[in-house]
Symmetry: C2
């Protein structure tokens, strides 16, 4: 894998001097085209051995291009705000928006490689992380991002020469510390682990580009050309959508599906409701204050037909908690900053810290519900969303978050009754709009979308709870009871294994 | 100050039950009007004694209003990301956007009151903080925010009764800890410090509302009515602008001003330039890597006429640093999320952590330059901006940030020459637009705006450096030299006093 980068590549001064002006001009042009087009975020990972020119390359790109549209993110030890959330949260928050270039100095590869060398991460955990990284990068590629992964390589002897040269020059001597020399001793370990990681993450959508780091001129021109070429090709490809061949579907022959099988006549008497509501609210109140919850977090998702009672159910759940502990996120149209990012970004930004609760009033499932039915996104987009969402919820689960998802189902007649009631009650007038009536006409399409959603995203870690909601009392109690049961089960199990979060990690 | 809240206010059950439905309906209406109008952020501070009903009030507001448009921010010990930035950063990042209600459980008052009681903050430092808070709240009021400061009060005996009652009820017993009983012992100290703070922050734009906390029903109805009434009055007042009487100006009788006095013929030979550029770049490179810089941060502001050479100067500065250390923020039109916040919010979000550098390519001075000249904001807005900006930079300075501001001045002829050159050089074509030509017609208005800006915002902590920029070489060297001198001076002084940042603070 590293052979082509051990050939002693060199470029002489004259060739270099001739090549640079054109390369710079072209890079700058490509950068402005990128900005004008405003569709592609460029993500450049700068990785490799110490002394192989990572820092120099970053500074060079700043000098060659317009630095106003580049951001560099350096990842050292995670901050406490980062440690209390899923591993990938810190990278999500750092993604460049469309039209910009984000350079990652130290990336999602640094911590696992480091931890594997140190022995704090098991080989199995490393491979799980690699899977996760591959899915993450595939998602980025699907979102139109250009992911460029550069690995600057040196032979062991080359690394020793580079460190010595850096140490000798007073302008660069500060960069070489004891730590760098120690790392030289782990050269073989790094080669072994990095070789493994690079091989398994060498995907068609985000391949590694190994660049020999010893000769400055060769490295600079090579890195510049790689970036220029990739940007040009991405820009030329434009807005092409991966042609989606719709996957096979199971026909619904007997009319039985998870939604139609719900017994919407379920109800509670007033007495039952009051007793059980008090009981489960009390229980929920205890659970979120349980000391064991301080290292977990709770993410509640409420989806349902219009007028199914999401809002009032959320209020009952919220009332059991301390307002300082939870946040309700109503999901509406994305903002401008959110539209410039991958689809899931606007949900990632609301992920709760340890000990906190986030309640989503509508959620990331919008993509496979309203966006699918209304045609707001392409079929390819919503088809891939199922897997992306499962990955997302899996990451949350691994980080100790408890994900509880509710679909509130009402009958078509009951919806009509509620719409009409809302139109007549002054106090509820704001709750019914022309859009609600239009959505109602697509009842069957939504029905199918919900069945597919449940089939494809009801997972072991984050199952869907389908709530019979014709009777609001029944629905609220079922929701509270489910939340308590899920929390109890989660709190009685051991916390997530250490390699699923930052414990003992990211020292470098 | 607390007398009216020691009268033993009570409301009987019947009166309460009669009042609540209408109050809830009205609050909900007001909340939807707020959201529809989308102009006013509502900031509710919930403060006061332990056991006086702070948490209960927050939960109640969630129940009475639509929780989807309320956010609650609880401030406990600052996170490390917060500790490494100015004190107010954590509150800025938590401000609700226009149209929403943000409830602050624990606010910018908590830490200073706590620290004064503990003796870790001197009386003088407390009074400085109070001044800062008053200016901050005035800025919020000017931005159209409704700032409601609620203080829930109990007599010492009343507090003892409340704690006992909470402890007796199994549903609330968990909330009473040793810590609460200890706080009872400091009742007098809290009364004294809070009395002082409340008196000095009882401003016309954000007065305190003291509410007796012992009787639940009285407290609930009172808090609800306060909020309802204030929201209604704010909504009715609409978009009124504070009528600005333009302040007196000093006439320019002899044509001499800070800009016209600049000697634009200053220049460097190629040899001088190369020597000095290398020297100061090297020096800057050392300074930002100095261990003493790890507890400071650097904020560079670049302003100047079009084509004055800001971009190329920024590149020279950036080249002296490690790309992992700095961030360049090009300031263009604000995004949707930024427009929903006070003017300075979009700059606060980019404040560097300790040991980092942020370079602003144009800045918060846009308000008193382009926005003033082009009439993008009212005179009242840009007039108050001078003081807000001075306060802002003072806060940065107090937190250990080094603020260095450059105005790059070129002659009108030189600008014309550069515009024409840019139009002819393919490579620079993107740099000149019709807007640049239009701005040029307003040369004199900009000249006046720059002079006023320098007069009013060149302060001891953050002076303006006016850069003679007809000769790019001279300008770049002057910029680098100034940066080095400011950094050297700052690093050789003792770090900011402990009460200017979070040291030993915010435990509660």
């Amino acid at each position: 894998m590293f052979e082509s980068a051990e050939l002693g590549h060199r470029i002489d001064k004259k060739t270099y001097k001739e090549a640079v002006p054109q390369l710079r001009a072209d890079l700058l042009d490509a950068q402005y085209d990128l900005k004008e087009q405003g569709k592609i975020p460029v993500i450049v990972l700068v990785s490799g051995q110490d002394g192989a020119g990572k820092g120099e390359t970053i500074n060079l790109l700043y000098e060659w291009m317009d630095p106003r549209f580049i951001s560099t993110l350096a990842f050292c030890a995670p901050t406490d705000e980062e440690r209390e959330r899923p591993v990938m949260w810190r990278y999500w928050r750092a993604l460049p928006p469309r039209g910009r270039i984000g350079i990652f100095a130290g990336s999602w590869y640094s911590a696992p490689i480091h931890d594997r060398i140190e022995g704090t991460m098991t080989p199995a955990a490393l491979d799980r992380r690699i899977d996760q990284i591959n899915r993450f990068e595939q998602m980025l590629a699907h979102e139109g991002a250009l992911v460029l992964k550069l690995w600057f390589h040196l032979t062991q002897e080359g690394q020793r020469r580079r460190l010595k040269a850096l140490e000798k020059d007073p302008r660069t001597a500060w960069r070489v510390t004891r730590w760098n020399w120690d790392r030289l001793k782990t050269y073989d370990a790094l080669q072994e682990v990095a070789g493994h990681v690079l091989r398994l993450t060498n995907t068609p959508w985000a391949p590694w580009l190994i660049v020999e780091g010893e000769d400055d001129r060769y490295r600079e021109i090579t890195a510049g050309r790689i970036i220029l070429d990739a940007m040009r090709r991405h820009l030329a490809a434009g807005d092409r959508q991966t042609p989606a061949v719709a996957p096979p579907v199971r026909p619904n022959i007997d009319g039985r599906d998870v939604i139609s099988q719900l017994d919407l006549t379920l109800k509670l008497s007033k007495k039952q409701y009051e007793d059980q509501l008090a009981k489960w609210k009390g229980r929920l109140s205890e659970l979120v204050r349980d000391p064991r919850f301080r290292r977990r977090s709770l993410i509640c998702v409420f989806e349902g037909a219009d007028a199914a009672g999401k809002g009032s159910a959320i209020r009952r759940v919220a009332a059991a908690m301390d307002a300082r502990q939870y946040q309700i996120v109503p999901v509406a149209a994305p903002t401008e900053e959110e539209r410039a990012q991958p689809y899931l970004w606007r949900f990632w930004r609301h992920m709760p810290r340890a000990g906190r609760v986030t309640i989503f009033d509508r959620s990331w499932y919008g993509r496979v519900l309203v966006e699918r039915v209304e045609g707001f996104c392409s079929e390819a987009d919503w088809q891939r969303a199922y897997n992306e969402i499962n990955d997302f919820e899996h990451e949350l689960d691994e980080a100790g978050a408890i994900v509880v998802k509710f679909w509130l189902q009402i009958g078509k007649d009951e919806q009509l009754r509620r719409f009409q009631e809302r139109e007549q009650v002054e106090f509820k007038r704001f709750k019914i709009t022309a859009e609600d009536w239009r959505n109602r006409e697509k009842w069957d399409a939504y029905h199918q979308a919900v069945c597919d959603m449940v089939d494809r995203t009801s997972t072991g870690q984050a199952p869907w709870t389908l709530v019979e909601a014709n009777d609001k009392a029944y629905a609220r109690v079922k929701i509270l009871r489910t939340l308590c049961e899920r929390l109890e089960a989660a709190l009685s199990t051991a916390p997530a294994p250490p390699d699923a979060n930052f414990a003992g990690k990211g020292k470098k």
